[in-house]
């Protein structure tokens, strides 16, 4: 009896039950409250966009678009004042690039191991441990970037000329921070590759490693790429690690051994200084914030698009 109701029939019954018109008084009010809650998130987005772009608009009345995008110096605090955003963008690209160089191979290897090699018990233990890395407050990572990574690891390797605040120490901790994002989401994508594909490859004589790298990874590629895009978005928006460990000298360089400043690092620096409303410092906060928002938004949207495509293939 239960079986015969399955599928479309059950759906029709459910819809019919839900559509009955009688209501208790007061339920309209509750529904109204729920809708109000749901509009809240739309209001948040609206406010973020309004605040970022209205304050940026005031900023761009004093600093021209051309200066912002064509100047190559970011020097808001000393004369001659200059607001060329690229030094801050370069700082962000620098730390995120080197973080990915470290996190991508490790994250992929972890995902492949968990999905294709590990016994269910190992996976049950290892995966939550790995995911706990994402729960560590980033100010803690920042502390370690300076006190452990720079002082105990990088200085012995690169010598004492290495600045105490250098982008590589921030990149290392950023890599640890985004490792669970890459490993966990990639592993989910790999685990949902149909068993038949693997069996077919094994039947043709492929080894486990060949099945993993030539069948499973290509089949899960959109999920894997989505995980990397999400990791990039997280790393770009991360503030405490780069603000504490990477330094506060805006520089147009991709060298990992320099002291640099990222977009978020600059924003925190202004935040600490308690910039008064209406000053150019306060407004620059929103101009840089708008830039940061657009960059992280585009990576997040790209990841969502990829994930949706990946769902269409396997459901």
């Amino acid at each position: 009896m239960q079986q015969s109701l399955a599928g479309a029939g059950q759906e029709a019954v459910h819809r019919a039950l839900r559509k009955r018109s009688f209501k208790r008084s007061g339920e309209v009010l509750i529904l109204g409250l729920l809708v109000l809650c749901a509009t809240f998130s739309m209001v948040t987005t609206g406010l973020i966009i309004y605040v970022l772009f209205s304050e940026s608009a005031t900023f761009f009345q004093e600093v021209s678009f051309a200066d912002f995008f064509l100047e190559t110096e970011w020097q808001p605090l000393f004369t001659p004042v200059s607001f060329g955003i690229w030094e801050l963008v370069a700082g962000t690209v620098n730390v995120v690039f080197w973080a990915l160089v470290l996190a991508l191979p490790l994250g992929m290897a972890t995902a492949i191991y968990l999905s294709e090699y590990a016994a269910p018990r190992t996976r049950r233990i290892l995966k939550p441990m790995l995911e706990s890395l994402a729960g560590v407050p980033t100010v803690v990572y920042a502390y370690f970037a300076v006190n452990v990574i720079t002082l105990e690891v990088l200085r012995p390797i690169f010598g004492n000329d290495l600045p105490i605040f250098n982008s590589l120490s921030a990149s290392v901790m950023l890599a640890v921070m985004v490792l669970p994002t890459i490993a966990s989401i990639s592993e989910d994508a790999m685990a949902s590759v149909p068993r038949d594909l693997r069996d077919a490859a094994y039947g043709l004589g492929a080894t486990r490693l060949e099945v993993a790298t030539r069948v499973v990874v290509p089949a899960a590629l959109s999920g894997v790429m989505a995980s990397v895009l999400l990791a990039i978005a997280r790393a770009v928006g991360e503030t405490m690690i780069v603000a504490i460990a990477a330094g506060s000298t805006p520089q147009l360089t991709l060298s990992p051994l320099e002291s640099i400043q990222t977009m978020t690092g600059y924003m925190l620096q202004v935040g600490l200084g308690d910039a008064a409303r209406g000053t150019i410092d306060y407004q620059s906060l929103f101009a840089v914030g708008a830039m940061l928002f657009l960059i992280t938004l585009s990576f997040n949207v790209a990841a969502t698009v990829l994930v949706n495509r990946f769902r269409e293939v396997y459901e």
Binding site: H14, V136, V176, E238
Partner: protein, 293 residues
């Protein structure tokens, strides 16, 4: 008469491929352990340098210019105040949003925009929420760098991820439960209130606890709204200035190393990690107990 046993041992190229594949297991395992290894070393290093500083005095003292007299009292109290207010503000809105999307929302393009918008909000960097809080709550509503402004900022930040977790929990409730309740004559809201919500509650609680542990470690957003202050008294109202444990850690970590504040930072990290890990553990326990039922 004896038949020579058939050897299934591969030779040449095939043997090499198999050897590489067998070896890859250990390389991949080693790579998987790097992250966990780093975490273990960091835990060891923190205990090594901070455990000796972890006394009752350290927890009970106000901040100070002198490292050995400085303590966490005002930042622990600030953290508790701001997190409690955050939960009170975020919980109803998050749960209401999730219920509406999963149970009441019509199939309409506007609703899919609301869902997409939530996913994107969950990916907005915390420092952006910080400047939103600065412009809206601190400046426009003139709340100053108060506990209320901090809690509103954190609530706005954690609502999207709480909604997504709650949606997941509501979706797990079997359809037959709803149909049964509706067939007995309950209204739609009675069904949600008395059957769907109680079933989904453990999942929702897990979601809000995890979001709370995110908020407990949040530093950048609160520094942006101006919570980087020296507080040497106990908070008594939502309109007080405040500071939190992660902000105190930041404060101590950026001091010159010879003053001895690094030890304080390590000890405060132990306190913060203990709080965050117990929240995560609590979430895991709730999820496990729910699964067994």
């Amino acid at each position: 008469m004896a038949v020579a046993p058939v050897k299934l041992q591969a030779t040449g190229r095939v043997a090499r491929r198999q050897a590489i594949s067998r070896g890859s297991r250990y390389v991949l395992l080693a790579a998987s352990l790097v992250g966990v290894g780093v975490l273990a070393y960091l835990a060891y290093d923190t205990f090594d340098s901070g455990a000796s500083r972890l006394t009752w005095d350290f927890l009970n003292n106000y901040p100070s210019r002198f490292a050995e007299r400085a303590g966490l009292r005002s930042s622990i109290l600030g953290s508790i105040w701001v997190l409690a207010a955050t939960v009170v503000l975020a919980f109803p809105v998050a749960i209401g949003t999730a219920i509406w999307i999963e149970e009441f929302a019509p199939k309409h393009w506007l609703v899919s925009i609301v869902k997409l918008n939530l996913a994107n909000l969950a990916g907005v960097p915390s420092i952006i929420y910080g400047i939103l809080g600065l412009a809206v709550f601190v400046r426009f509503y003139d709340l100053g760098p108060s506990i209320l402004a901090g809690a509103l900022t954190l609530a706005v930040m954690i609502i999207p991820m709480t909604v997504i977790a709650s949606q997941e929990a509501i979706r797990q409730v079997p359809q037959s439960l709803r149909d049964g309740s509706l067939a007995l004559g309950s209204t739609h809201w009675q069904t949600v209130r008395h059957h769907v919500l109680p079933q989904a509650m453990p999942g929702i609680m897990t979601g809000i606890i995890l979001a709370l542990s995110r908020a407990a470690g949040e530093t950048a957003a609160l520094i942006m709204i101006g919570a980087f202050t020296f507080i040497a008294w106990d908070n008594t109202s939502l309109f007080d200035d405040f500071t939190t444990v992660p902000i105190q850690i930041y404060n101590w970590s950026v001091r010159p190393s010879q003053q001895g504040f690094q030890v304080n930072a390590s000890a405060a990290i132990i306190v913060l990690m203990a709080a965050v890990l117990s929240l995560n553990l609590l979430a895991a326990v709730i999820r496990e107990r729910f699964r067994r039922e």
